[in-house]
């Protein structure tokens, strides 16, 4: 963190957007990136375990819809992680003087919820890969690499070359981080974050139904191939 902070000129235009304070900037980045990636990984391991012990097949044999099953499986890790994020941010309010009024809390809750739905979609797509190919999916690795380096977790994306900045616009975490920093470091609330919120909403509307459709297709194929409980 120290060496990265030294490569970023704190007084420069790049960090100026976030009140010129690198440590709180980095703190928000690391907490949120860690939360999303850890929840993704836990979900992936959970699916693998369910396949191995046979409960995946047992649950599919009940009348529960695929949507309820996979969403229910994903939501717990993200919700529990979300509670931990709030605790970290309360600490951040104490140590880094985060803006933490009720308006900021509600705005952050909205941003985090939209981010959660986008990431649950990625988690479902990743699980579909694992179910179909019976191997640990590479998506988690790809997401982790892309998100850590491109979404502005450790440094502002304005430091990246233009083509990478354009790629960063396709990662939901970029908007979650941007909105969270603006809320806690500059006191923004929902009315001033319309761009970020609308973009996150668009990610949710496109990604979530798509991920459920992929999961339904994969389950149907696994039922044809007889491979629901294979890993």
């Amino acid at each position: 963190m120290y060496y990265v902070s030294k490569t970023i000129n704190v007084g420069s235009i790049r960090i100026k957007d976030y009140n010129e304070k690198y440590i709180p900037f980095f703190f928000i980045g690391i907490v949120l990136t860690g939360y999303f990636l850890s929840a993704l990984q836990k979900f992936s391991l959970k699916i693998k375990r369910e396949q191995i012990i046979g409960t995946f097949e047992a649950v599919i044999s009940t009348p529960i819809s695929n949507f309820s099953f996979i969403s229910g499986l994903a939501i717990w890790d993200f919700l529990w992680g979300g509670i931990q994020v709030f605790v970290y941010f309360l600490l951040g309010a104490f140590f880094f003087n985060f803006q933490f009024g009720i308006v900021h809390f509600m705005s952050f809750a909205l941003v985090l919820t939209l981010g959660m739905i986008s990431f649950i979609s990625f988690a479902i797509i990743s699980a579909s890969f694992s179910i179909y190919f019976k191997k640990t999916d590479p998506f988690n690795l790809l997401f982790a690499a892309a998100m850590s380096s491109l979404s502005g977790a450790y440094f502002p994306i304005t430091l990246l070359p233009d083509y990478l900045q354009r790629m960063a616009k396709f990662i939901p975490l970029t908007y979650v981080l941007d909105a969270s920093r603006l809320i806690f470091l500059k006191g923004y609330h929902v009315n001033l974050l319309k761009n970020q919120i609308v973009t996150l909403l668009a990610f949710c509307i496109i990604l979530f139904p798509f991920s459920i459709a992929i999961f339904n297709l994969v389950i149907k194929q696994a039922m044809r191939d007889g491979t629901l409980s294979q890993y």
Partner: protein, 260 residues
């Protein structure tokens, strides 16, 4: 007695895993294993039927297709006048599947937690589920449901698996190799209980997939399945008569039909 399950020309193929060289050199070549080959059969309501066959005969495949866990490759299946593939959700509400050795349970959870979880998946509300679990545990004389599942003896575990299958009051129960880990006396007691309590009193339709040739007289009807084909069906007496000898034992009857 009317039919609750009707199967017409059922085929099931499983794709074989292809080698990399085959994938490159013969990408369009389909390599499949046919588990069921044109199976046509009817199962009557409130009947205790056994599908008897050796390992790899297709018993588990047939039971899993009827339970909605697998999709058939070809064929028509009706369960309680509902076409299987078009009404999977409704059919899953009417049937229950118990796999061999209780796969599909969370062993670190207690029996009660497992039953609560699966009961919730069937959409049974909490108060009704609690009553149902109490009622079924009384019926099976299981007083303690709050131990972790792996702490129970094999016999108790089998009872708990059956309780799980009965939670939603399914009309049809599919047992895949039940009581495999029990000794012959315990197995006989369990199957006797299933026949008397579930089939005779509660009028359930129970279909058992088994490779055991012991005590086949307990079943109302037998279906002999071999390499995906139905070789014979009927009561044990009918099968003895057709095989030409009332003094034949179960193994000799089975080998007679399988050798055909």
């Amino acid at each position: 007695m009317c039919c609750i399950i009707e199967i017409a020309d059922l085929w099931k193929e499983y794709p074989r895993v292809k080698k990399i060289t085959d994938v490159i050199l013969h990408p369009r070549k389909k390599d499949v294993f046919t588990a069921l080959k044109g199976v046509s059969i009817k199962f009557r309501k409130s009947e205790f039927t056994a599908i008897v066959g050796l390992n790899g005969a297709g018993k588990s495949t047939l039971l899993k297709i009827l339970s909605g866990i697998l999709l058939p490759t070809k064929g028509r299946i009706y369960i309680d006048n509902l076409e299987l593939c078009a009404n999977l959700k409704k059919i899953k509400e009417k049937v229950s599947f118990i796999s061999s050795e209780g796969k599909g349970f969370y062993w670190a959870l207690t029996a009660r937690e497992n039953l609560n979880f699966f009961g919730a998946l069937y959409g049974i509300n909490r108060s009704r589920l609690k009553k149902r679990i109490e009622e079924l545990s009384d019926l099976f004389a299981i007083k303690q449901l709050d131990n972790q599942l792996y702490n129970y003896s094999s016999g108790y575990k089998e009872m708990i698996f059956i309780i799980k299958a009965l939670l939603n009051d399914s009309q049809v129960l599919f047992f895949d190799e039940p009581a495999k880990s029990l000794d012959y006396m315990a197995r006989e007691r369990l199957l006797g209980f299933v026949r008397e309590e579930l089939v005779r009193v509660r009028k359930k339709t129970v279909i058992v997939g088994t490779n055991s040739l012991e005590n086949l007289e307990i079943y109302d009807r037998l279906v002999i399945l071999d390499r995906g084909l139905i070789m014979a069906e009927g009561t044990i007496e009918e099968l003895k008569q057709k095989s030409g000898g009332y003094n034949k034992n179960n193994r000799q009857i089975f080998e007679y039909y399988v050798a055909k």
